[in-house]
Amino acid sequence: AQRVTQPEKLLSVFKGAPVELKCNYSYSGSPELFWYVQYSRQRLQLLLRHISRESIKGFTADLNKGETSFHLKKPFAQEEDSAMYYCALSGYSGNTPLVFGKGTRLSVIA
């Protein structure tokens, strides 16, 4: 069964502190992994995807197939990073929808 687990509902960190949002997945095959973000009063938007291997807004995420994880990291949190973060996966074969985790609310305290 396809499943995405985000163990933390809420994560609070101080500005300038490192951030790690955890994501574990279950998938039979090779999935594509994503992080989506929803800022206050804005729509859901893609933050990054593992195949791009990019750093967006200082965030990075490495796919660890052995641990089936795709944790999102940033070395120094900013107040504008406060938002709802969703980890998601889809199949590589195409024509598959996204499977989302329940989300983690990140609160960066000044």
């Binding site: 995405v4 509902k9 729509r43 859901l44 938007q45 893609l46 995807r49 969703y86 998601a88 195409g94 024509n95 598959t96 929808p97 996204l98 499977v99 989302f100 985790g101 329940k102 989300g103």
Partner: protein, 113 residues
């Protein structure tokens, strides 16, 4: 350019009524997805269109839910005999093809009293 739009932004209805939710995808996007997000949950897949046809409707919870995309652009999600458990935010997303980034609309918040 214009993003995905959804109307109405809010819909309040009574139990047992019929509702239609509309999605206007980004022009030229062939793939269109419907998701439902209940309070405290992530979005859950309902149905996916490639062009005019429903490529995957495995997420529709029961036969009260139906969606169409007759001209391969605008899509309408239809819910018959609404129940209080149908209350949620209904999200629409579109992409250039099934493999590309999905762009989400603002959602329609449905409340069934």
């Amino acid at each position: 350019g214009a993003g995905v739009s959804q109307t109405p932004s809010n819909k309040v209805t009574e139990k047992g009524k019929y509702v239609e939710l509309r999605c206007d995808p980004i022009s030229g996007h062939t793939a269109l997805y419907w998701y439902r997000q209940s309070l405290g949950q992530g979005p859950e897949f309902l149905i996916y269109f490639q062009g005019t046809g429903a490529a995957d409707d495995s997420g529709l919870p029961n036969d009260r839910f139906f969606a169409v995309r007759p001209e391969g652009s605008v899509s309408t999600l239809k819910i018959q005999r609404t129940e209080r458990g149908d209350s949620a935010v209904y999200l629409c997303a579109s992409s250039k093809s099934s493999k590309n980034e999905q762009f989400f609309g603002p959602g329609t918040r449905l409340t069934v009293l």
